[in-house]
Amino acid sequence: MISPDPWVWLSAILTMCSFSLLYGDNKFFRFAEHTFTAVVIGHNVVMGVFTLKDRFYPLYAGQKLLLIIPLVLGIMVIFMIWRKYAWLAAIPMAIMIGVSQGITVRALINTDVMGNVKAVISEGASIFVGNPADGVGTLIRVAFTITAVFYFLFTFTFKSTTSRPLEYFRTFGKYVLLIFIGIYVGNQSMQNSMLATSAINRLVRNWLGFG
């Protein structure tokens, strides 16, 4: 049975408007697009207002006067829009870049760079131990990692006869990356397929009442 709930009807109409993008640029898609934009911006503002209220409450209540500094810095950022006073925004921008990059660089060196290096090295122990299929797998994983990193050497050239084999190594690294992309394209399709199922099922089950 078709749902009597007006919110379900609104959802159904918006879903179909959004799907009309598949047909091409049209008014229904524009309606969905602008609804989406407006709701998200509205939501961002509501969130922002509540967040600011929470964060600056200690200042308002007189518990933490130091918060006056971020308040001033926050207001300074808005001066970005006036060409003449844009330099005022440079200081809060510098804080944002400095703090954010500081947090990032420590996480990158720990997990992405050294964490991975250590994980690869530890795996060396399991190459010749246990199930041969796993051993071969580990060997492939380790070898692929190293050759693919080799591909990312940008300023080294291997033109001379002695260093020529290294160039083949680099080419192999490129194919390793292609294999990885191929595998992930294939596995990810499952997710995209499932997302379509969930959108269509919402229409068919919740709105039209089938199944």
Partner: protein
């Protein structure tokens, strides 16, 4: 006027550099060494950073106001929708501030609009995926050949028909994901991690041309 110019230049060239060096180093030092003072300083800087970021919302609102109101006043393409969006933004803000974020009314309205549209656009990904695949997965070179073979292998191995008829399919697909696939994935993470570290160091030393221009006004 000239005094302001020189202040502006001083702020942009000197002060911002000093601020970046102090904040970046304190965030790094605060992780590798802990002491009550460094921890406090970092917690405070993080808080400042989060608060400043919240204020950038107003810049977003200003840009959207300028571009939408201009579109409406010049009657450019799709201007009625821009007007509708401006009105809906205001209605939504009033509704949200009045009812609160966790109220049932806000939940229902959010689920039936934002979440619905989100699900709908995610639902279209498979359409884009298949048409992009139809266009690009043509075996002209060895490169596309490799891409196509592995993608096809994964799709077939993950398919319920294959899985229910061939018991090894499941193990093979996991093996492919966890070994050859993971090798490349890990190299991407590792190498781009190095690139990221060096980029952050470039910012620290003032050598990065692009992002630092954001502080140049």
């Amino acid at each position: 006027m000239s005094t302001m110019d020189s202040i502006s230049r001083f702020v942009r060239t000197r002060i911002t550099r000093i601020v970046i060096v102090i904040t970046l180093l304190s965030a790094v030092a605060g992780y590798f060494f802990s002491s009550p003072e460094i921890n406090n300083l970092n917690a405070e800087l993080n808080l400042w950073n989060m608060n400043i970021i919240t204020f950038t919302l107003f810049i977003g609102l200003i840009t959207i106001y300028f571009s939408y109101s201009k579109s409406v006043s010049q009657r450019s393409t799709n201007w009625p929708f821009r007007l509708y969006a401006l009105v809906l933004i205001i209605v939504w803000i009033v509704m949200g501030l009045y009812s609160g974020l966790y109220s049932d009314m806000y939940q229902t309205a959010f689920l039936s609009t934002k979440i619905t549209l989100h699900i709908a656009i995610l639902g279209q990904l498979i359409f884009f995926y298949l048409s992009a695949m139809y266009r690009t997965f043509r075996v002209k070179t060895l490169r596309t050949g490799i891409l196509v073979i592995f993608a096809l292998a994964m799709v077939v191995l993950n398919s319920p028909i294959t899985l229910s008829n061939w018991s090894a399919a499941d193990q093979i697909s996991y093996w492919l994901l966890n070994n050859p696939g993971m090798g490349g994935a890990r190299a991407v993470v590792l190498a781009s991690g190095v690139g990221g570290v060096v980029l952050a160091l470039r910012i620290l030393m003032g050598l990065e041309k692009g992002a630092l221009r954001a502080t140049g006004g």
